[in-house]
Each structure stands twice: as structure tokens, then as C-alpha cells.
């Protein structure tokens, strides 16, 4: 319990620290939101200056940070200059869509990668193992953007999927059509996500399982006559768990931020396009709100990963915590 209490305090301090650093970082970038208006010869600099001061962009950093904290306390988390609306409802609406995508992707990825990694390690040297090694190198080397554009291009050229679809939220549509429609739209982005993530996770799982397979206790287990599958999943996997758990923590941490590029390319109405445009157009509070949201997930994800590490490896728990 005390451990949890301590971690919570630490998490809150961390989030506060991140918010301060975010403000500092956003100061570093040249340019401001209204710069686009400067290129319009019909808008006077006085109007631009007035707009800047109306949104408080000319106030000193400390003042702006104070205002933001107050706004956060009101659960608004700042005001978006572009949308003229409070940040939190904007974010939350899109976050739901992103979570739908990434949670599905994460579930599928781990369902596929864990068993596959273990299986490949057990059949090390086998043709399929070699083939996978090469295939995953392919996937890992090609930048995500190129993969996404290439897959999308294939889908379009060979008409594999209908790119158009009914609205994501409509009236009078039966649940069945809604789910079907959703599934069709999610197919491409989820496939890309799973593709790209599994390549990495399978590699890690395979590598660490391989390490454990060489240790004496496994050989002992084999010699005891325990069947291979049981050895693999009951004895090897927990011992090889550590990097996998850290990776799982990363997956959790990336639930809101990991699919940004894919959402932009596939046109999925999630956080990705919103935050990307906000970042490039310097819509400060929207960006900071988005970062705080993903920081929240990151802290949470790492926390869960740490707890899982404790649970998986009893040696960490029992007494060896004090090093000297």
C-alpha cells in the first residue's frame, strides 16, 4: 500500500514537472499561431497584435502557466486558439477514437506476438524462423510512413477495401451495420499497427526466450520429462518475461500517442491529426493538453509494467530490494 501511495505522489509530481517543461519547450519554437495571417497582405499587423494579446500570447511565461493550472483545475485544460473552445472536451472526443484503434491493435499484437515469439524460439534455425527474421527486417527497415502509404496505395489500386463508409456516428443505423462499418474502417490502420509492432515484439520475445532456453534449469526440466509446451509456457516464459513486460509497458504508454502517423494517413478521426496540426500551427494549449494526456498514459503504463515486473519475478520482491 505504501508503495502505491509513494508511486502516486511520484506520478503527480512527474506530471507537474512535465507540464512545466512543456511550457518551456513550446517557448523554444519560433513562430506563433497567427503567423499564417502575416502572409495575407490584407490583414494589418495591429489586428495580429490584438489577436495575440486577446489570447494571452504576449503574456510572460509564468502568468500563462498560472492561468493554465487554474484552467486545469476547472477541467478545461486551456483554450484552443484555433477552435475557440476549451481543450479537454476536444481531446476527449478524439481520444476515444484513438483508444479504440490502439487498444484493438495492442490486443491483437500481443495475442499474436507472444506465442509466435516463443514458438519461433523453440524452432530456432527452422526455415520459418529464418523467413520470419528476414520478413521482420523488412518491416523494421521501412519507415512507418512509407509502409502506411504503400499499403493504402495497394488497397486503393486493387480495390481491396471500400475507403468510403458511412459516418462513424450516425443516427438510425442498426448496431450490426455500425459494427460492420467500424470493422471495415479499422481494418487497414489496425493491420499496419499490428504489422509494425509485432515485428519488434516478436524479435524481443524470441531473443529473450532463446536466452532462457539455454540455461540449466530448462535442461533439467526437459530431463524430468515435462512436456515441451509446458516447459515453454510455465517455466521459460516467466523467466524471459522482463523485456516483454517493459515492452508491454511501452504498448500501454503508447495507447494515445503511438498511432499518430497512421491516423493521419488513413484518415482515422483520432488524436493524431488533431495534435499534429495543433503542433505545426502552434496551438499551444491544445498541444500541451495532448502531451499531458499521453504523459498520463505513459506514467500509468510504466506503473502497470513495474507492478507486473514485481509480480512476475519473485526475486525482485523478496528482500533483494536493498542492494547493500
Amino acid at each position: 500500500m505504501r508503495y502505491l501511495g509513494r508511486t502516486l505522489v511520484r506520478a503527480i509530481l512527474l506530471l507537474a514537472g512535465i507540464s512545466i517543461l512543456c511550457f518551456l519547450f513550446t517557448e523554444m519554437a519560433p513562430g506563433s499561431f497567427f503567423d499564417e495571417l502575416r502572409l495575407n497582405p490584407q490583414v494589418s499587423p495591429e489586428t495580429i497584435a490584438n489577436l495575440r494579446s486577446r489570447y494571452g500570447l504576449d503574456q510572460p511565461l509564468v502568468v500563462r502557466y498560472g492561468r493554465w493550472v487554474k484552467s486545469a483545475a476547472r477541467a478545461d485544460f486551456g483554450y484552443s486558439i484555433a477552435y475557440n473552445a476549451p481543450v479537454a472536451p476536444l481531446l476527449w472526443g478524439r481520444a476515444k477514437n484513438t483508444l479504440l484503434l490502439t487498444a484493438t491493435g495492442m490486443l491483437l499484437t500481443w495475442l499474436i506476438s507472444l506465442p509466435l515469439g516463443v514458438w519461433l524460439a523453440a524452432r530456432r534455425g527452422h526455415m520459418l524462423d529464418q523467413a520470419f527474421s528476414i520478413a521482420s527486417s523488412f518491416v523494421v527497415s521501412i519507415p512507418e510512413v512509407v509502409i502506411a502509404v504503400a499499403l493504402l496505395a495497394i488497397v486503393v489500386r486493387w480495390r481491396l477495401l471500400p475507403l468510403s463508409a458511412g459516418p462513424l456516428h450516425g443516427e438510425g443505423i442498426s448496431l450490426r451495420t455500425h459494427v460492420q462499418d467500424l470493422a471495415t474502417r479499422m481494418l487497414l490502420p489496425v493491420t499496419i499497427l499490428v504489422f509494425v509492432e509485432s515485428a519488434i515484439i516478436v524479435r524481443h520475445v524470441r531473443a529473450s526466450v532463446l536466452e532462457v532456453l539455454g540455461t540449466p534449469f530448462v535442461q533439467a526440466a526437459h530431463s524430468f520429462g515435462i512436456c515441451r509446451a509446458r516447459v515453454l509456457f510455465r517455466h521459460v516464459l516467466p523467466a524471459a518475461a522482463s523485456p516483454a513486460i517493459s515492452l508491454f509497458g511501452f504498448s500501454l504508454a503508447g495507447l494515445v500517442s503511438g498511432s499518430l502517423l497512421i491516423e493521419v494517413i488513413c484518415g482515422w478521426p483520432g488524436l493524431g491529426p488533431l495534435i499534429l496540426e495543433a503542433t505545426l500551427s502552434r496551438d499551444l494549449y491544445l498541444v500541451i493538453g495532448g502531451i499531458m494526456l499521453s504523459a498520463l498514459f505513459m506514467v500509468g503504463g510504466n506503473l502497470i509494467a513495474d507492478l507486473m515486473l514485481l509480480a512476475a519475478d519473485p526475486r525482485i520482491r523478496t528482500g533483494a530490494l536493498d542492494a547493500h
Binding site: 517543461l21 523494421v140 524481443h204 523485456p243 513486460i245 504508454a253 519475478d313 542492494a323
Partner: protein, 339 residues
């Protein structure tokens, strides 16, 4: 196993040798534009024409017609080895004009086609590889060294060190790096020389990338420092440094190698993002990263497939490295004597 290792090492050596001698193997200067031949498909090598079979391959000139490029079969140009071409400095030692192969002007031999400015893709892939592979490897080394250092310290000493270092990684991973990059760009002088750009690239990528390996390493160190042999070593009075070097490091090598195979290609491709902020290798210098940015356009991807050459080169490089890492890992997995 041994033949496989031998093949892999030979392939790796051939790859690096090719990149090192890019200036010799490439028939053209990578920045030389040929404005009459934009987006020309790869030059076809022929061995047979109306006169029969020839031993020496030859090519035809591309001419731009209404429907695209057509081979001008009126004149054939044989491919010669060890021809004279544009001058370059071989390995920075001496000037020469010898190239591995070429054809007489006005024909040109573009094995991987040309880009939008008529520049030879094959030459650009070779020259570009020099910068990109070096940058990717250097950045990976920085990221992994820093990550391993912090991960080991955090995992080994536990408690407050661990908590604060891990808080550090979380901080690092959450921050808006896009703004940081913009700030770096604003802070630097407008023109940064290619060599300095290279160093900058690697440092930036490496600096931003240490957090993940650190977490992975820390996880492993946490479990391995409680192993019996470690406890035993400590009870024998072994110093921390000794324990870390002898017993912890071997455990993390596996993770580090796997991360390396993932990170190298990813860092090479990261240059695409950096170029967006003006922190990449600038035109007209070729690098796989800036050649990849043109591929983000749908029309280019679909119409000019030969421009995928740097992707192919990147894949080959990372496949070789991955397979090699595999082999090295299999050597490492067998228990060390004395455990």
C-alpha cells in the same frame, strides 16, 4: 552454422566496401543533374540485337515521347569497365577519374533510374549510404550506450536511483520533441556544413533515443542482480563494478543486440522527420533519408517504382545486420563458464 556466418560476414564486408568505394563504383556524380531525363526508368542492359548476341552488354538512349520514355534503338552504346568519368577523390587520398563502369556520352547508364532532376539513383544510393549507414550506426551506439548506462545504474542500485532515473525516462519520452527540434534549428546558424549536419543528426537522434533501451535494460538488471551468483559474488566482496562487468553485462547484451537491429534502420529513416525541421542532410547531398522523403508522395510511389531503391538498400543492410546479430546472440546464449 559456420558457412552461414561466413556468408553473412562476407556480405556485410561487401556492403561496407561498396559504400566506402562509392565514388569508384558509381558512374556519375550524385549531384549532377540531367534535366532532359527526369524520372527515367532504369536503363536496360541488352545482350542481343539485330546483329546477334554480344559478349559485352550495351544500352540505348532514353528519349522522352508523349507516352513516356522510349528506347532509341538507332544507336547502341556498349558498357565499358574501368572507364574515365567525372573526377573525384578516392578515399580522400588521391584524385582520379576512373570509374568501375560506364557508357560513352550522350548515353547514360542509370541502373536504378533517375530522380526528378535526372540524377542517377544508383550513384545517389551508394553515396547516400555512406552518410546514412554511418549516421544510423553512430546514433544507435550513442542511444544504446547511454541507455545501457542509465539502465544498469537504475536497475542495480534500485530505490531512489531507480525511481528518479525512471522518472527521467518518462519525462524524456513525453516531451514535445518537435518543439525541441524547432528550437535547435532556430538556435543554430542557418547554414550548417554537411559534416557538422551529420554529427548533429547523430547526436540529436541518439540523445532522444536513450530512454527506451534504458527501461528495457533496467528491467533485466532488476531481475538479474538478485540471481544467486550475483549474491554469491557480492558476499565474496566483489566490487560493484566487477559484478556489473562480469555478471550483469552479459545478461543485457541480448536485449541490446535486438534493440540495435531495430534501431539502426529506424534511425536511418528518422532523418526523414529531421529534414522536415531542416536538421537533415540538405540538398543536393544524397542520403537515404532525404531520398526517402520523396517517397512519401503517393504519385511518386505509384508511378516511379524504381525510386524505392534506397528502401531496398536499407532492407538489405538491416537484414544482413539482423541475421548477423542473430548469430552473435546464439554464440552468447550458451552459459558462460563459471555461472
Amino acid at each position: 552454422m559456420r558457412t552461414k556466418t561466413a556468408i553473412l560476414i562476407a556480405a556485410l564486408a561487401a556492403l561496407h566496401l561498396a559504400l566506402l568505394c562509392a565514388a569508384f563504383i558509381a558512374p556519375y556524380d550524385p549531384v549532377a543533374q540531367n534535366r532532359e531525363l527526369p524520372y527515367a526508368p532504369p536503363t536496360r542492359l541488352h545482350l542481343h540485337d539485330a546483329a546477334g548476341w554480344h559478349l559485352r552488354p550495351f544500352v540505348y538512349r532514353w528519349t522522352l515521347g508523349d507516352e513516356g520514355y522510349l528506347e532509341d534503338k538507332s544507336e547502341s552504346f556498349p558498357v565499358h569497365l574501368l572507364t574515365t568519368g567525372s573526377s573525384y577523390e578516392f578515399l580522400g587520398i588521391f584524385d582520379t577519374t576512373r570509374h568501375l563502369f560506364g557508357v560513352a556520352p550522350p548515353a547514360s547508364i542509370a541502373l536504378f533510374g533517375t530522380d526528378g532532376f535526372g540524377r542517377d539513383e544508383f550513384s545517389r544510393v551508394l553515396y547516400g549510404g555512406q552518410i546514412s549507414v554511418a549516421a544510423g550506426i553512430a546514433a544507435t551506439l550513442i542511444a544504446l550506450l547511454a541507455g545501457a548506462l542509465f539502465g544498469v545504474i537504475a536497475g542495480y542500485y534500485g530505490n531512489w536511483t531507480d525511481q528518479s532515473l525512471m522518472a527521467g525516462t518518462e519525462l524524456f519520452l513525453s516531451l514535445p520533441w518537435l518543439y525541441f527540434l524547432l528550437g535547435v534549428r532556430a538556435f543554430l546558424p542557418l547554414h550548417v556544413s554537411p559534416v557538422r549536419t551529420f554529427f548533429l543528426l547523430t547526436c540529436v537522434i541518439g540523445l532522444i533515443g536513450w530512454a527506451r533501451p534504458a527501461r528495457l535494460v533496467r528491467g533485466i538488471v532488476l531481475s538479474s542482480r538478485t540471481r544467486n551468483y550475483v549474491l554469491a559474488a557480492r558476499s565474496f566482496g566483489a566490487s560493484d563494478l566487477h559484478v556489473i562487468r562480469e555478471h550483469i553485462l552479459p545478461e543485457i547484451l541480448g536485449v541490446l543486440m535486438t534493440q540495435a537491429t531495430v534501431l539502426v534502420p529506424r534511425y536511418i529513416a528518422a532523418e526523414v522527420t529531421l529534414s522536415f525541421f531542416g536538421l537533415g542532410v540538405n540538398e543536393p547531398v544524397a542520403s537515404w533519408g532525404n531520398m526517402l522523403s520523396t517517397l512519401q508522395q503517393y504519385s511518386v510511389l505509384v508511378s516511379y517504382a524504381w525510386l524505392l531503391a534506397p528502401v531496398g538498400a536499407l532492407i538489405i543492410t538491416s537484414v544482413i545486420y539482423a541475421l548477423l546479430a542473430d548469430v552473435v546472440q546464439s554464440r552468447l546464449e550458451f552459459p558462460q563458464p563459471g555461472n
